[in-house]
Subunit: 210 residues, 2 copies
């Protein structure tokens, strides 16, 4: 549905910032691979990270064309006919080529961007990466060459003759939500749940009201 | 992490049945494409559908190798060090080749499988597809040639020397949840919310307790 599509940069960024999980696709000898991974964004760049031994990251680092897809599900659209059932969602499909970040300061900054994308406020509290950990981590920068967003919102669209059918119709809103945080069993006494964790659900909830 | 992986068929099926959104990847002239789409499963086959004009489905129907990725996010794992942060998740990556279902009875049955996968109980209530609607819909069958599952559960794994750090650590559970259903504004009087919609959240909630 072309009417759902957009190449508007702000729309693309808003969707990328509301999500945190990407499906990353690449081809090897004509065979497609799609791997889920976390990400962060700054400007027109996405940052991915993982084990230095990761197959995905080693393939991508070789300069293959990459497609990154982020999808946020906002609801199931239940129409009176099978045909008009749909999904409310926001998605971005982005194309480009990734490269590895080797320089330590830039590498740590990219890791900070990913961390702050996932749980804002966390980075400054935790123990930062050691030299050995940094070597064991691969960080890729993915400049977005081209991207498109698709968004569907609202109620079912029906054939006029279907409105009279005695069938419930409407939208079943869906969103990623947090449950109560589970403290680690070895948590030292007196360490309270930080506000940035407590507020995470609100952030998710706000972010998914697109 | 090889220890998280599994080729066990029941594990793969359980994850596919708990999800409903797939990221479908294919290659064209070395360029990867990843597109989000709903799906259903029966046995070792996935079913995808969309507009007969859909670029994705037309490409896939041509017999290209396909990679289907389904990921369920179960939580963010907050460790005391930046390095050991992780995600609890269940994912499946499946490989195969799709083909179009043309025969009307099989095509309708595949649509029923997708519908029942998304909202069990819905199919028998709604107006079924007309001949014209059926022609406007493409339905693909994707036999799974090979698949692997990955699952991470549980608390953060820490370096022994990090347990004493004064940093909150634990798991922030995440799950796809329903909010209150939004009835269509043109809903006829006296049509009540069906039980299968009311129970959808319980199903999702149960399904994400992996």
């Amino acid at each position: 549905m072309p009417s759902r599509g957009s190449h508007d940069r702000e729309t693309v960024y808003r969707i990328l910032d509301a999500g945190f999980l990407a499906s990353v696709g690449f081809c090897k000898d004509g065979q497609p691979f799609v791997i889920p991974t976390l990400y962060g964004r700054k400007g027109d760049k996405l940052y991915l990270h993982g084990s230095a031994a990761s197959r995905l990251l080693c393939e991508l680092e070789a300069g293959l064309p990459v497609c990154v897809c982020v999808t946020l599900v906002d609801g199931l659209v239940l129409s009176r006919s099978a045909f008009h059932h749909s999904m409310n969602y926001r998605s971005v499909v982005a194309f480009g080529t990734a490269h590895s970040i080797e320089e330590p300061v830039s590498k740590i900054e990219a890791l900070r961007i990913i961390s702050e994308h996932l749980v804002p406020g966390r980075w400054k509290e935790v123990r930062g990466p050691s030299e050995q950990e940094l070597r064991a981590t691969k960080v890729l920068e993915f400049p977005i060459d081209e991207a498109s967003a698709k968004v569907r919102t609202g109620p079912p669209l029906e054939d006029a003759s279907d409105y009279g059918l005695p069938v419930w119709a409407g939208v079943l809103p869906l969103a990623m939500r947090c449950a109560a945080p589970i403290p680690d069993e070895q948590l030292a006494d007196g360490i309270e749940l930080p506000d940035y964790v407590r507020l995470h659900d609100l952030r998710l909830n706000g972010a998914t009201k697109g």
